[in-house]
């Protein structure tokens, strides 16, 4: 972009300021930073325009030079421009210094590796020391102002990089004693001192003579970054000297300077305080905050140094000064303020909080300070607003709220009044002549009267409800306050039902102390009406909030009467909203009739649908489930009420998958009956209701399995085994896929996938049902012979454990033994559903094993049987 005139720049800057983000995203955005730097050296632009360019760079360096490298380059360019200025007076030197400082500090470029930093810092220090930097730095007349500016720049750099000037404390002290401008040097020294103390204390190091470095030469020696590197790690969230209890966290208490250091420190602080009257009031306040913070908790540094300043400052009306005194109070407590001092400070604060010569904002801030007053010996819990002990009703006389006050003042004073009422309640002997409760009641009545004004601004209503809320929060335990409040609010509703949203909001936020009685009176208030007046929509809104199982018939009567008047969508929805509340509250009788009537009679199809939905829900869901389904979800009203409703149902009525709180295992076998039956054992981690277990077998091996139902299960309470009959189509082991459907204690239905269950080959074994009493051997032989020729035959060696054949049989094959000649010979017949058989002859057992002859009529069983037998020997 070529050079631009003043006008173009004015336009460009205007466009940028209107919306920096939009401008930077536009076509001109990219070059703005570069253009700005090059135009600063243009001879065509006036100084005034250049100052406005620099002003922009002071505000938006991050937009102009978005990364560290760009910031570094910009600072270098700004410094070059500064050096190249002709030696005549110029309005650019000061803003150039500020801009270079801002670019480095805001662009994260400040540091030992930044060339621009290494140029800027000695330059600033040189200017601040009043050294002669040559004619490039303007005429002598400008030096004083540049000296102050350099101090400001150094202060900002020190703020962003604490410890930067830690090595120059002695130099700064020296300058302050000489001719330097008092305010900039004082503030710079105080900040550097504070930071050095904090960093050294954290590093558990002493002051190391930092204060006594004296007039070290400023130019030529390399900058000492050590303390700043240390400090950079500490520019992190911290409590700035408040409250006093956090001293330990800051680690300041551990810094115990040597007697010599302590003396030097005291001298430095005294030097700063002695000339503090030369500072502007705001700067005096900054100095007190900094020094208060620096000395807090430092051993051997009695805060009496501050005392001479306090008397002078206590008389002023200056917000910053009184605030700084409070900071000192918080930091030093009794060490600086005796009980009498504390009382005086409180009186001044009370006075300032109502002084007619001060603006409202100051009053409000002082009121806040009163309620957060750093007492020497606080009684209550810290962090909560409370009236200080010394602030009795007498002092508060002028701080009572009145209707003529601005809303914020009224609320602030009301809070104080509530605290007084709370105190008053605790006192045994009450003041005879004046009762804060009575005053409070009158005030609230006045507020309600104003809020009741038809057509009055909403702010008045809001104020009334805020006041009521504040009172309830502070005085929830005082029926003497709550009873008239409840009654008054009911009257307010009576005279202005349009405030219904405020009532709903209040009910949402107050505890049961007010909430319960208010619900009752509001419900009475609404249902006692014919349901035909103008304010029907408000009544319905209130009723949706307060309707519960009580006074059902009156409520339903009101709704029936109202239904006829609900002609538009809004009213119908409001009406249905009340029905919903009743559904939730478990009102059944009467409501069903109403819903049915609504489902027929409402004009709007949406309303009819919703009424029908509620009717269906009412008819099909049990009470608790209904309560959950209609739980407090209702998001913002959607185009259709059903859509909105759905959002709630999605969570409540739909089955959601969840990790199962259920553990399922297969219990001991139970070889009896016509089909194999698995005994399932269930354990739960939390109460589970209406459990339904569904099983599925891969492929077509078994017939589909019936689901198993359990009404309820509790953790730690044993449950009878569940029986799962299997209907194999082929005698084969398999895996059962298991899913659980259940209801949680909160009424939600959940669904879970459980680990698969293994059905082993042995699980399918059944004894032969028609085993005759008489000739067992004959029966067995008959079965044995019938297997061939269709089936298969095999024999194998089954190794035996130390307990022999008898144990093996009794463990595994007992139910199936037809003929037994213990301990050496057993004939076993197993029925494998649907219709296979497996016959075993275990004869002539030896010590280490037994030969097994085996026949089956189903050749596919043979390998399974083989595996089973081999498995047995391993198991025994």
């Amino acid at each position: 972009m070529g050079p631009r005139g003043r006008e173009t720049w004015a336009q460009r800057l205007g466009a940028f300021r209107a919306s920096p983000s939009a401008f930077m995203a536009g076509p001109e955005g990219e070059d703005l930073g570069c253009d700005l730097l090059s135009e600063l050296r243009s001879e065509k632009l006036s100084e005034q325009t250049k100052v406005s360019l620099l002003a922009l760079s002071l505000e938006y360096p991050a937009q102009l030079w978005p990364d560290t490298a760009a910031a570094e380059a910009a600072a270098t360019s700004l410094l070059d421009t500064l050096v190249l200025l002709p030696p005549r007076p110029s309005a650019l030197r000061r803003p150039l210094l500020l801009a270079a400082t801002t670019a480095l500090a805001a662009g994260d470029a400040l540091g030992p590796t930044s060339a621009a930093s290494l140029r800027l810092l000695p330059l600033l220090l040189g200017l601040a020391s009043g050294s002669d930097l040559g004619r490039g730095f303007g005429p002598a007349s400008e030096q004083r102002s540049l000296q102050a500016t350099a101090c400001e720049c150094l202060r900002e750099l020190e703020s962003c990089k604490p410890g930067l000037l830690g090595g120059r404390l002695g130099l700064l002290r020296g300058l302050l004693g000489q001719e330097g401008p008092v305010q900039p040097l004082s503030l710079l020294l105080a900040l550097a001192l504070r930071n050095a103390l904090v960093i050294q204390a954290r590093a558990r190091a002493g002051l190391q003579g930092l204060l006594m470095a004296g007039d070290a030469p400023t130019v030529g020696i390399p900058w000492n970054w050590a303390l700043a590197e240390e400090g950079a790690a500490h520019l992190q969230p911290q409590a700035p000297g408040w409250p006093a209890t956090e001293v330990q966290e800051c680690g300041l208490a551990v810094l115990e300077p040597s007697p010599e250091e302590a003396r030097e420190l005291r001298a430095a602080v005294a030097q700063l305080l002695d000339t503090s009257y030369l500072l502007t009031p705001v700067a005096q306040a900054q100095l007190l905050w900094l020094l208060g913070w620096a000395l807090r908790g430092l051993r051997g540094q009695p805060p009496v140094l501050f005392k001479p300043q306090l008397v002078r400052l206590l008389g002023t009306a200056q917000l910053t000064l009184l605030h700084a005194i409070l900071a000192l109070k918080a930091a030093f407590g009794e060490a600086l303020f005796t009980a009498q001092d504390e009382a005086l400070l409180l009186r001044r604060l009370t006075l300032a909080a109502q002084h007619p010569a001060l603006p409202l904002s100051a009053h409000l801030f002082y009121l806040h300070c009163l309620l957060s007053f750093p007492e020497n010996w606080p009684l209550g819990p810290t962090g909560e607003e409370a009236a200080p002990l010394l602030l009795g009703p007498r002092l508060c006389r002028g701080l009572l709220p009145s209707l003529l006050h601005n809303p914020m003042a009224l609320l602030a004073r009301l809070h104080l009044l509530c605290l007084l009422c709370a105190d008053d309640e605790e006192k045994e002997e009450k003041a005879q002549d004046w009762s804060p409760q009575h005053y409070l009641e009158e005030l609230l009545a006045g507020l309600r009267q104003r809020a009741a004004l038809d057509g009055g601004p909403r702010a008045l209503a809001t104020l009334c409800f805020q006041a009521s809320y504040l009172v309830v929060r502070c005085l929830a335990m005082q029926p003497a306050v709550l009873t008239p409040l409840t009654r008054g609010l009911a009257q307010l509703y009576q005279s202005r039902p349009a405030l219904a949203p405020h009532f709903v909001d209040l009910l949402d936020r107050v505890g049961p102390e007010l909430g319960e009685p208010l619900r009752v009176v509001l419900r009475q208030e609404v249902v006692a009406r014919p349901g035909k007046d103008e304010a029907l929509c408000w009544h319905l809104q209130i009723l949706a909030k307060v309707a519960d199982g009580n006074a059902q018939s009156a409520t339903l009567g009101f709704l029936r009467a109202a239904a006829a008047r609900c002609t538009d969508w809004d009213l119908q929805q409001a009406l249905l909203q009340v029905c919903r509340a009743l559904l939730r509250a478990g009102v059944g009788k009467g409501l069903a009739d109403l819903l049915q009537a609504l489902a027929r009679q409402l004009e709007d199809p949406d309303g009819r649908d919703r009424a029908r939905l509620y009717y269906i829900l009412l008819a099909h869901l049990a009470g608790p489930k209904l309560g959950v389904a209609l739980g407090p979800s209702l998001a913002a009203p959607a185009a259709s009420s059903l859509v909105a409703e759905n959002q709630g149902f999605a969570a409540a009525l739909m089955v959601q998958e969840a990790p199962a709180p259920i553990r399922l295992s297969v219990g001991p076998r139970r070889a009896e009956g016509p089909v194999p039956v698995l005994q399932l054992q269930v354990e739960v981690l939390e109460p589970v209701y209406s459990l339904e277990l569904r099983f599925r077998v891969e492929g077509q091996l078994y017939a589909p399995l019936e689901a198993v139902h359990v009404p309820c299960l509790y953790p730690g309470r044993p449950c009878r085994p569940l029986l799962l009959p299997l209907q194999p189509r082929r005698p084969a082991p398999t895996h059962l896929d298991v899913r659980a459907l259940y209801t949680t204690p909160s009424g939600l239905t959940r669904h879970a996938h459980l680990p698969p269950l293994l059905v082993t080959f042995a699980d399918l074994f059944l004894p032969f049902p028609q085993s005759p009493e008489g000739d067992k051997q004959g029966f067995f032989e008959e079965l044995w012979d019938s297997c061939l020729p269709k089936g298969a035959e095999s024999s194998l060696w089954c190794p035996l454990g130390p307990r022999g054949l008898e144990a093996l049989v009794s463990h595994h094959l007992e139910p199936f033994v037809v003929v037994a000649q213990p301990p050496t010979s057993y004939h076993v017949a197993i029925h494998l559903p649907p219709n296979s058989r497996l016959l075993l002859r275990l004869e002539a057992a030896q010590v280490d094993g037994v030969p097994v002859a085996l026949r089956t009529d189903d050749w596919a069983v043979l390998p399974l049987a083989g595996d089973y037998l081999r498995g047995l020997s391993a198991a025994v």
Partner: protein
């Protein structure tokens, strides 16, 4: 201690956006620190447009209070100070110090050097009072002395340069912006050592000291058995010291005549170098008795160049200067009124002006007035539903005057007639406006001879006094008056 940003927004009711950002200034180096200090709770400073919108909403200055909006109207959304949280871009920008004065909104965001959640108490944030002081300073600069729009626009245009002087990096150096303006102009003056930062340059010329005492008297009068009337005097002493030298010392003594009312609740300018403990402790909180400190009140100080308020005080004078009653009775569309005013004999009967304004709220325009005044003249402002009784420069010899009459009103047409949230039904007031020159109600005066000046040359000392009314109300005794009366009831009972 530093500010992250400052704004001036003119409030324009009815305009599409509700206002215009007239000035804004951001401090990126402070913002950098905020990001570190606030950690996860950091919310960046928004651009001007979104900021203004959120602030106007929070201050209830957008014209849309028709509907209940929870984030603004909820009963738990309680603001007890001029410090707000603004919902912007999903986060809460806090603390925003802001107030509205003369259709201008002044706002800034102080740096908080810790995490913002939970909000630390305001008292622990040094930037809050610094922010207030900056905004008060800007307000004083814009509005002290002149009022017209052109002058204010000129001053607004000077603001960027002034803040570059007074607050270059977001840390306020001087809340007195006029000083900064002067320091730009005085740039070439070489400063000797120990020049106070609050005094740019030195005065050259004829030495003179001017002291002016202005007392404002407020009152609430009810003419009722069970409610006590209240009144209060608030005084301000303004000085302008044109004296040579860097640090001239001046001591001004305020004195009271023997029957004068003691000065209380004294607040002094920071240039006052020391204060007698009797001055520091004399307070309206305490019951008055004969032992109350009654002066002379000595104020030693080193004056700044400009005119400044040396001190403020209050006082409880034994009687109000004008005692009266106002009776108003409604009779359908008419009201009957009777007013009686009596000037206390001790008060100087020589007014610059004296008027009683009798407004009628929440009614239609005045259609007819029948009246009788014992003194002065009655003016009728029909559309404004207002009567002004011009009493003039002197009360008659009897010191007592009266007005009686009947006022008839037309139909109430909504928008036009004045609305008031207090004056409902019979609740009504009249308000007195008066000014008496060369007089103070307390009797307080600055004796020329008691002014001590330690500077070269004998200065010319001039003193001025005046009493003006401010919030001087007489309530209709035939109807309820606002509950504020209870506060005063308490006051009176405690005294007895």
């Amino acid at each position: 201690m530093a500010q992250r940003a400052v704004w001036l927004i003119s409030h324009e009711p009815g305009a599409p956006l509700g206002g215009t950002v007239r000035f804004s200034r951001r401090y990126p180096t402070v913002e950098k620190r905020a990001k570190v200090f606030n950690g996860a709770s950091y919310v960046p400073i928004p651009e001007d447009g979104p900021f203004m919108k959120a602030l106007l909403f929070e201050l209830r200055l957008l014209d849309d209070d028709k509907d209940f909006i929870e984030s603004r109207d909820s009963c738990s959304h309680i603001n007890k100070t001029s410090v707000y949280g603004l919902l912007i871009g999903g986060g809460e920008l806090w603390p925003v110090v802001a107030f509205l004065k003369n259709t201008m909104i002044y706002a800034c965001v102080p740096l908080v050097e810790q995490t913002l959640s939970p909000h630390p108490p305001l008292i622990s944030i040094s930037g809050i009072s610094q922010g207030f002081e900056l905004l008060f300073g800007i307000q004083d600069f814009l509005y002290l002395g002149q009022k017209n729009d052109t002058e204010i626009n000129t001053k607004l245009n000077q603001l960027p340069d002034l803040l570059l002087q007074a607050c270059p990096f977001g840390t306020l150096l001087d809340a007195n912006l006029q000083n900064s303006l002067d320091s730009i102009n005085f740039a070439s003056v070489t400063h000797p050592q120990k020049q106070p930062a609050w005094k740019v340059g030195t005065y050259k010329g004829k030495p003179q000291v001017s002291i002016s005492i202005t007392e404002k008297v407020k009152s609430m009068q009810y003419d009722k058995q069970d409610i006590a009337d209240t009144w209060q005097v608030v005084g301000a002493v303004t000085c302008k010291c044109d004296l040579e030298g860097i640090m001239p010392n001046v001591t001004i003594s305020l004195s009271l005549p023997t029957n004068g009312s003691p000065l209380q609740d004294i607040l002094v300018h920071p240039c006052v170098t020391s204060l007698d403990s009797a001055i520091l402790t004399s307070s309206s909180i305490d019951a008055m008795d004969d032992s109350a400190f009654s002066g002379p009140y000595k104020f030693p100080f080193t004056p700044p160049l400009e005119s400044f308020n040396l001190c403020y005080y209050t006082s409880q004078v034994p009687v109000p200067p004008i005692l009266g009653f106002y009776q108003m009775k409604e009779e359908e569309i008419k009201v009957k009124i009777t007013v009686n005013l009596k000037l206390h004999e001790s008060v100087k009967n020589n007014f610059e002006f004296c008027e009683a304004h009798i407004p009628f709220y929440n009614r239609g325009p005045i259609t007819h007035v029948e009246s009788k005044v014992s003194f002065g003249q009655l003016e009728v402002f029909r559309e404004k539903s207002l009567l002004i009784w011009i009493i003039g420069q002197k009360f008659p010899k009897s010191m007592e005057i009266s007005l009686s009459g009947t006022v008839t009103f037309g139909a109430k047409s909504h928008e036009k007639q004045p609305f008031d949230e207090i004056c409902i039904g019979g609740t009504a007031y009249l308000k007195l406006h008066f000014k008496i020159l060369d007089y103070t109600l307390t009797g307080c005066y600055a004796d020329q001879h008691s002014v001590q000046v330690f500077a070269s040359g004998k200065p010319k000392i001039s003193t001025y006094r005046k009493l003006i009314s401010s919030d001087y109300y007489i309530w209709n005794s035939k109807a309820p008056a606002p509950v504020v009366t209870y506060g005063s009831l308490l006051l009176v009972r405690c005294h007895n």
